[in-house]
Symmetry: C2
Subunit: 460 residues, 2 copies
């Protein structure tokens, strides 16, 4: 692990977060960092990704340590590096040095953690060696796939309430992630004319992250088959008539994420059908962002996107009827089957390790409607929340060829007309939008999204 | 998962491997593929890395499946994709299609695996959900960190005996990994004049892999502090007098690895001291490769490297005495503290998931000598083995400042003279060498390693 020097203001931020937690709970909490996971043998490991909750309060990407938070104080539990490790890893910072960098109020060896467990809550780490250790030490199951219970649930609620809105230090990191992501998308567009494979565009984009000591915040999607929504393969060749959909975001070294999608024509020129649909998606994108304001329900933003898309498809003759009615019957979801977006922060779907605890206002649950069930965020917006806005249009064979759906929507889709848009398999436009007291600020605004500029950026 | 079409010759190779296993054991074996590991939340996962043993017999990078091998026959246990997954992941191949691509003799749903467990051996997968499942189904601990016992040990010995030497299909993949790795190192050298940070050179190298749908076979080392042997950070700025050490290797989509190190001057020009030490390391490298021949003990190759390095350092006035005596007393290990190399195949340290079972001939154990204990391979060489040859020279502060070592080697090191070589912190030259009936073939020979060519490649 590389641990840079930290500033006083960084430490002040961390202390402020710890104090705010103390204002919400009256019991201690222990948050583990987690460690790296083995790849094909024990010494060959995936890169460390410390737990997001740990990063929020400790600020540093450490491996196999824990922090105990009580009444605003932080106690670090960490073993000093073995003297022999200096041979292979160079000089590592000591426990006391790390404690100082995170503004800890005390520091102890890991072995003493067992003396400090009574009445403490925790949150399950994803990495299995650590959640096993959490379960053993606390003598209860602490499982990453199960919802927390009792004081663990109280802790989770307190932390989500803090992490729902971002402080200045978080925003500074999120802006860094956004800026590097913008650069990566520009690099991807610039690399397209010479690229033969999706993989080559991906390489151009991810190398921007690597050069900045960042990683991807999720596995990139770079595909000419945007209609496959979760596509993590990059084998297709690029053909002149294709649209390339790139959903690629950076993560800073302390874990803060960006999440951006652009769709551009391989040839540098949209076909007329591609441009028409692109502009429908862009209209939905712009309408949603214009609507973002404190107090607005995110679900209404989603429904607005659905309505604008339905209107656009009516204008193009693909859908028939009245936009509000079509949205009511979920006809938009034939072409826009996912939600308008999600929370963004330390996780690309922020706090999704806790299920819908962060995404859904207390008392709300996922809808079972075709056009609403995949909505990941259902809360009134508040200043300091960062959300994605990512409308899309897809021709997903599993949807459009589904006999039940075809018969249900037989009369609202002009299938004949739709067939003329066969070259529009998948389009998404996604930006990262901060809710402000005045409305919103698009952190990724430096990346153009209008069709003409997109064409120019992806031309030789 | 993307599963390409496979050829008849690929299937023949897989069947041949299965038949050879059947010739060695008279009990059935079940090999699990393993699945991906979660990163910061369950839906955000590290890329899949299927178990190497699975890849050896099944050939395809599948997730959460198992194969049962008995008497040369393969039975695939796999669940068909859920119909709903087509919405998000597109159409996935069915169990029967996958079975056909790997030349399976039968295919069943995962739930039936429990009917086929009696008397079967297995090998622990690294990923925890799978080794937990292995342990539960077989009703014994199957742990990735513990040596196998009983029939599991017999299976492990049989598989290592097969995987120690490579068939033509394996060699074709290993040559692909080597070729892309050579290209990446050339890209790294070419990127150096304009790069300000280690990370930028790393980006230039790894983007070559990404563009070919390959990954790194281990976390890259790209550093101006080569004396930190396991250095996975890339934050240093590049200064004109620095040497940049890059230990970067590709892994093909079916898991076969390369492992290559080059060291080049940031300025495009070695200093005279850097060039002198570089040529000592290169002399050791060349001497070792010249010595590789069937029947030769790999430990003797290691000792040859130690001797050539000792001789070179005597010539430079850094060591004093007779080379053989210095190697006997491990004085070479002050500057070359690791082994000359290791097996290479599906794993970059091939089969190291089984400890030293593959690396050490039966009946041999690690030495506790300072100059031998880190040797990962101790066997007579055989045609078809692929090994790395990677001599190095490092000034590791934890070694050279160690009071015990300083006093032990007080009289054999000219510390005064050594101080004149302060600008040589770390040099390694590593190639991938196939043992052939005629001697050896360097799979990475297309990447130059002589000082003059290295200078030219890293110059503007
Ligand atoms: Mn998103
Ligand atoms: Mn190596």
């Amino acid at each position: 692990m590389l641990i840079q020097n930290t500033t006083n203001s960084f430490i002040d931020t961390l202390r402020h977060r710890r104090q705010r937690l103390a204002n919400l709970i009256d019991f201690p909490a222990i948050i583990w960092s987690g460690g790296s996971s083995p790849r094909n043998f024990p010494a060959n490991r995936f890169p460390l990704r410390a737990s997001s909750h740990f990063l929020y309060f400790a600020g540093l990407p450490l491996s196999n340590v824990a922090i105990r938070l009580e009444a605003g104080k932080l106690e670090l539990f960490m073993d000093d590096p073995q003297p022999s490790s200096a041979l292979w890893h160079g000089e590592m910072p000591t426990r006391d040095e790390i404690a100082q960098k995170m503004g800890a109020d005390g520091a102890r060896p890991m072995a003493e953690l067992e003396l400090w467990l009574e009445g403490t809550a925790t949150i399950a780490v994803q990495e299995s060696a650590t959640w096993t250790q959490q379960s053993q030490l606390l003598n209860r199951w602490v499982l990453p796939q199960s919802p927390p219970q009792g004081i663990d649930l109280e802790l989770a609620k307190a932390i989500t309430s803090l992490r729902l809105t971002h402080d200045d230090a978080a925003l500074a990191e999120l802006r860094k992630a956004a800026a590097v992501t913008v650069a990566a998308h520009k690099a991807g567009m610039a690399a397209t004319p010479k690229a033969k494979l999706e993989a080559e565009v991906r390489a151009a984009m991810e190398s921007v992250f690597i050069a900045q000591n960042m990683t991807t915040s999720y596995n990139s999607i770079v595909t000419v088959h945007g209609e496959v929504l979760h596509n993590e393969h990059y084998h297709h060749s690029l053909q002149p008539g294709d649209l390339l959909l790139a959903d690629v975001g950076a993560e800073t070294e302390t874990g803060w994420a960006a999440d951006v999608t652009r769709t551009w024509p391989v040839s540098g020129k949209f076909s007329s059908t591609q441009r028409e649909i692109y502009n429908v998606v862009l209209a939905a994108h712009d309408a949603c962002i214009a609507k973002i304001y404190p107090g607005v329900e995110y679900e209404d933003i989603h429904l607005l996107a659905a309505t604008v898309i339905a209107e656009g498809l009516i204008d193009l003759g693909i859908l028939q009827g009245n936009a509000e009615d079509l949205v009511q019957m979920d006809a938009h979801a034939l072409f826009f089957p996912h939600g308008i977006g999600h929370l963004l922060g330390l996780d690309v779907h922020d706090m999704e390790d806790l299920g819908d605890l962060a995404g859904y206002e207390e008392g709300r649950e996922r809808s079972d409607r075709f056009g609403l069930g995949y909505l990941r965020l259902n809360r009134p917006l508040r200043p300091g929340m960062l959300v994605t806005i990512e409308p899309g249009y897809y021709q997903v064979p599993a949807i459009l060829n589904d006999p039940k759906l075809r018969s249900k929507y037989q009369n609202v889709v002009n299938w004949q007309r739709l067939s003329q848009f066969a070259d529009v398999r998948g389009i998404r436009i996604e930006d990262d939008v901060l809710v402000t007291t005045e409305g919103s600020e698009v952190l990724t605004a430096a990346l153009p999204n209008d069709a003409n500029t997109i064409e120019n950026l992806s031309k030789i």
